[in-house]
């Protein structure tokens, strides 16, 4: 599968110069869109994603809402210019599947029972894709939900781990995803250590899988720190707090 491509050189460095356990440079910003209730932008290496959240709000199509909980809807979309070869703007099978996977990774964290009869809309726009878009989308969407003030059990942080050239690696880039031996995206609620997304593509021994899961947990915790910092920075200077009434 790995063919002739070398993903890890003799010094143990990956194609983009990272060590095996290094994350790509990660930047998250909140509150960047004004027409939505909550928003976030994530730049993880060359991956660049924008997320907007509406809600909770009453659904105009009444049959969509449920009497006992809020309905979460999610749309993951890749811009035509997000990949090297132009992507058709029509929703692809992959986009529809990822929308569902991302929604199911976020839903357990949202306290949906608090807002019956409403809907929460999450719109994810991938502007540039360089691997790990589903994980970056989950990370950013969870921050956007917090930015909208939607009550949640915990943030959700996601990180991909995998195997390339026989070595276990963290936070895969597009090359490593395509030509590596395995890709395991993981999303967790970092305060609770609950896994909300776990997928696997490729071949791994069970020992390797267990080791990777531990690496993913560590990666997610580091991403969680960045999420918290982003929320805090989005609110400007916070010191000498005052509370009134």
């Amino acid at each position: 599968m790995s063919g002739k491509k070398r993903l890890i050189d003799e010094n143990g460095l990956r194609v983009d110069g990272r060590r095996w356990n290094e994350l790509r440079p990660l930047k998250i910003e909140v509150g960047i869109l004004s027409n939505v209730d909550g928003s976030a932008r994530i730049i993880q290496g060359k991956t660049h994603i924008l997320v907007g959240v509406y809600g909770p709000r009453e659904s105009f199509a009444k049959h969509v809402s449920l009497p006992d909980r809020s309905v979460v809807r999610c749309r993951y979309r890749m811009a035509p210019f997000s990949v090297e070869e132009r992507k058709s703007p029509a929703p692809s099978r992959r986009e529809i599947e990822l929308s569902k996977v991302i929604r199911e990774a976020l839903e357990p964290a949202i306290l949906v029972e608090e807002f019956p009869r409403t809907i929460i809309d999450i719109f994810i726009e991938v502007l540039e894709a360089d691997g790990g878009t589903r994980c970056a989308s989950i990370t950013a969407a969870s921050v956007a939900l917090a930015d909208a003030g939607i009550p949640m059990k915990d943030l959700v942080a996601a990180c991909a781990v995998g195997k390339a050239d026989g070595k276990l690696i963290v936070d895969l880039s597009d090359m490593e995803d395509k030509y590596g031996e395995a890709d395991v995206p993981v999303a967790i609620m970092p305060n609770k250590n609950i896994i909300t997304l776990l997928q696997m593509d490729g071949t791994l021994t069970s020992d390797e899988f267990n080791a990777l899961l531990q690496l993913a947990m560590k990666g997610c915790k580091r991403i969680h720190e960045v999420q918290r910092k982003a929320l805090k920075d989005g609110f400007g200077e916070i010191k000498n707090l005052v509370l009134e009434e």
């Binding site: 209730d37 009453e58 009497p67 003030g149 915990d154 943030l155 970092p190 000498n240 509370l243 009434e245």
Partner: protein, 232 residues
């Protein structure tokens, strides 16, 4: 056991706030005897009650609240009212008019029509049914000859201030009637663009600095400065 974070510190969704004999207040959830924050906000622990004051959020109706609503539609028995909330409110004709109306004979839009702004009281709400409003009461009813400004509902307590200190100061300084809705809406009984602009500036100052001290003084000096420009 005990408090896990300092009162008045910043908390994130999922943060453990306290463990043991505490009472869970607004924007928290419990697992056993542990209390967690459910939003991004400021934590407040007073008399062993844990509350989170959210920094972002929306308005959830509460019975007894005065809200400013905008009529969006009418049905054969009621008006639908946008109250800047996840839930659309209902104002029944019987809670608005003193005598019964026959919709078949009379055009209900004579009384209230789409786009009208009202000050109303929430009289019933339980999340399973739409919030019910009433405009029968002192000072309630249609608002006319003024300007509506909408802002973040979580900033309402700050704009009111301690026992109304902030809003009373603004009213006094601007000498125009200002009506506050709990749902993040404010009605200024003035169509003077300079006054309206000044109120907008005040609100954006409050929104940006709601968590910083000395806000009332800052707002006051902003008014004094801007009023100089208006008089001239």
């Amino acid at each position: 056991m005990g408090e896990k974070v300092r009162s008045r510190s910043i908390v994130f969704p999922g943060d453990l706030i306290a463990e043991g004999s505490f009472r869970a207040g607004a924007y928290t959830y419990t697992e056993g005897n542990k209390i967690f924050s459910s939003v991004f906000g400021l934590c407040e622990i007073k008399n062993r009650v844990v509350n989170i004051i959210p920094l972002q959020g929306f308005y959830i109706p509460r019975v007894g609240d005065n809200v400013i609503g905008v009529i969006i539609d009418n049905s054969p028995t009621s008006w639908q009212v946008d109250i800047n909330s996840p839930y659309i409110a209902v104002l029944q004709f019987s809670d608005a008019l003193s005598k019964p109306v026959d919709v078949a004979r009379e055009d209900i839009r004579r009384y209230l029509k789409s786009g009208d702004v009202i000050l109303a009281e929430v009289i019933a709400f339980d999340k399973l049914r739409s919030p019910l409003l009433s405009i029968k009461g002192k000072d309630l009813g249609k608002l006319e000859n003024g300007t509506l400004i909408t802002f973040s509902p979580v900033k309402v307590p700050r704009l009111i201030g301690r026992r109304g200190s902030m809003i009373n100061m603004i009213k006094k300084e601007l000498s125009c009637k200002i009506i506050m809705g709990r749902n993040g809406r404010i009605w200024i009984s003035s169509t003077d663009p300079q006054i309206v602009n000044l109120v907008r500036k005040i609100i954006s100052l409050v929104e940006e600095e709601s968590h910083l001290p000395g806000l009332t003084d800052k707002v006051k000096s902003l008014i004094v400065k801007e009023r100089g420009n208006i008089d001239r």
